[in-house]
């Protein structure tokens, strides 16, 4: 594929940022899926880390080809999501939130202390197998899939349970099945994002997948709004670009980021894109 020289220049200069935008867009979508059924997970970074570490090990240690590694990178996050989701999704949402916070912190401790995961140094020298075409291709595929699901009867059920669980259950929505499905899909998306991230940045470390990144991923969705899948992606783009634009402010950057989130939560309760998906009348 040939590209115009200006685009080539742009990609060369801002390559990492372009990767990060795509990967964060995928993470924002993984957050969206959980929030769309009215649940809160603070484990998106942990699921991403599981995808990143497991795929990096498959590539480095086992030497498997990338076309096999990419789909397999969803296995570990989905398994952990099952172990956590089965007991907690029957209870009020607080339990899922707490268990996922715990998951992130524990995995960080495990990565730090187990030799296989490279300890504090992380894993480096991961071959660059993913590219912008793949990242953005998957982002658009995920966006389109979630858009279609959102417009279907499944999306209607998800929106109903987000607004009022009891009423949705009375109307025959199987709450547990939808919540479980959303959590597993979300873990899989985050795992893919992790795999892509590991295979474009050549290095992954234990601190990239702890609690703070999880809150950042949550803030993508809060800023963008969860009426449509586009909202979180927009939020991810804004919150990924903003720190780059504000690089000169160094420490104050965090403060400003924080102010933006607080203001967004208090004054923009629907996010930047508050509109909802349109559906045909039933």
């Amino acid at each position: 594929m040939t590209m115009p020289p200006w685009l080539d220049d742009l990609l060369w200069t801002y390559g990492n940022l372009v990767h990060a935008l795509g990967v964060n867009g995928l993470l924002a979508l993984s957050m969206y899926v959980v929030l769309a059924v009215g649940q809160l997970s603070l484990g998106q970074a942990a699921f991403m880390g599981l995808g990143a570490y497991s795929s990096a090990l498959m590539t480095i240690v086992l030497g498997w080809p990338f076309w096999a590694v990419l789909p397999l990178s969803v296995v570990a996050p989905v398994l952990f999501a099952l172990v956590i989701g089965v007991p907690t999704l029957r209870l009020s949402g607080v339990y899922l939130a707490i268990a996922t916070i715990g998951l992130g912190e524990v995995l960080r401790a495990v990565y730090l202390n187990v030799d296989l995961f490279g300890g504090a140094l992380g894993l480096s020298g991961i071959p660059e197998r993913a590219g912008d075409t793949l990242i953005y291709g998957l982002l658009f595929a995920a966006l389109a899939a979630l858009w279609l699901v959102g417009r279907s009867g499944i999306g209607r059920a998800m929106e109903a349970m987000r607004e009022d669980e009891t009423a949705a259950a009375v109307m025959g929505v199987n709450l547990l099945r939808y919540k479980m499905g959303a959590l597993l899909a979300s873990a899989a998306l985050a795992g893919l994002a992790g795999c892509l991230n590991a295979h474009v940045s050549s290095f992954i470390g234990p601190n990239e997948y702890g609690f703070e990144p999880a809150v950042t991923i949550l803030s993508f969705a809060l800023l963008g709004g969860i009426g449509t899948p586009l909202g979180p992606v927009l939020g991810a783009f804004v919150l990924t670009l903003l720190p780059e634009l504000l690089r000169d402010l160094s420490d104050l950057r965090l403060v400003l980021n924080g102010v933006i989130i607080v203001v967004a939560v208090l004054f923009l309760p629907g996010g930047l894109l508050p509109w909802r998906l349109r559906r045909r009348a039933a």
């Binding site: 009020s92 912190e105 939560v265």
Partner: protein, 292 residues
């Protein structure tokens, strides 16, 4: 050796229980995932450090002042952010958890605002002399924590079970709307609960800082994971559960570190959490909050 480890486990567990007291109170009554709790804990310790160092107060004067300061910070955060989110949540009906998350995210950021201002002083306040009791050694600071946990639990149980205010708080934990209909000023009760849990966090920060001989702005964050494990294992909002689960976690961690290796401590703490969620999701004593 085993005796010493059991004693160490109980003493460590007492610090976890101390940390979790205010945490479980806040959760049980306000039903909000308030991630600033770790910050109140650090703030209490830092205020006490400042009072002792710069104002020349004795530690026993500084302790209650620092606890009150942390309580006031908690009320301020609650008033600024959480109350608004809670009222909106009631109006919007049913999106409770998503909104709790918004609160969490917002407040976490707010916490970060507060954090940037602190230099990280790791400071010694008192030296804990070690005592030899038969086969085991304990420090005075450790015994102090044990005593403090006992006193704070007794005070909290008395407040919740023996006073009219406690009755109002328990009613609110049970059914906020029904409590309001019975004439309870729930906004005031929520502010008082915030204040109390902030005070407990602040006092915990001072005492645990004394025991560890180190005070720094991130000490609360480091306790949060244990705090979550303790309140889930003990049952959300259950004071007795928080104490038992705190001691259990302390024992499990010390024994894991002693016999399996200290790098597995966090993993074992998490396994304990998952095991309780699978077998007894309501915690050892609590009633689970069902979905819906």
């Amino acid at each position: 050796m085993l005796a010493q480890q059991l004693v160490n486990g109980v003493l460590l567990g007492a610090t976890y229980a101390l940390f979790a007291l205010g945490f479980t109170l806040m959760f049980g009554v306000l039903k909000v995932i308030n991630l600033t709790y770790g910050f109140y804990f650090s703030a209490g310790a830092l205020v006490a450090l400042w009072l002792v160092r710069s104002r020349g107060l004795g530690i026993w004067t500084a302790l209650p002042l620092a606890a009150v300061a942390a309580g006031l910070i908690a009320v301020a955060v609650d008033w600024l952010l959480l109350t608004r989110l809670r009222t909106r949540q009631r109006a919007g009906a049913g999106v409770a958890d998503g909104h709790a998350g918004r609160g969490a995210g917002a407040v976490f950021r707010a916490d970060r605002l507060a954090r940037v201002g602190h230099p990280p002083p790791a400071a010694r306040v008192i030296n804990g002399d070690a005592l030899q009791l038969g086969p085991v050694r304990v420090t005075e600071a450790q015994l102090l924590i044990l005593a403090a946990v006992g006193v704070l639990i007794a005070a909290l149980v008395w407040l919740l079970r023996g006073t009219k205010l406690g009755l109002a708080i328990r009613a609110m934990a049970d059914r906020p709307d029904a409590a309001e209909l019975m004439g309870i000023d729930t906004a005031r009760a929520a502010a008082i609960v915030s204040f109390l849990s902030g005070c407990l966090a602040g006092a915990g920060g001072v005492l645990i800082g004394l025991q560890r001989n180190a005070i720094h702005p991130y000490m609360g964050e480091e306790m949060m994971l244990r705090g979550f494990v303790v309140i889930i294992v003990g049952g959300l909002g259950d004071i007795r559960g928080a104490v038992v689960a705190g001691l259990l976690l302390g024992l499990v961690e010390v024994l894991t570190a002693g016999y399996l290796g200290s790098s597995l401590k966090e993993a074992v703490a998490f396994l304990l959490l998952v095991a309780v969620l699978w077998t007894q999701p309501s915690g050892l004593f609590g009633r689970a909050v069902p979905a819906g």
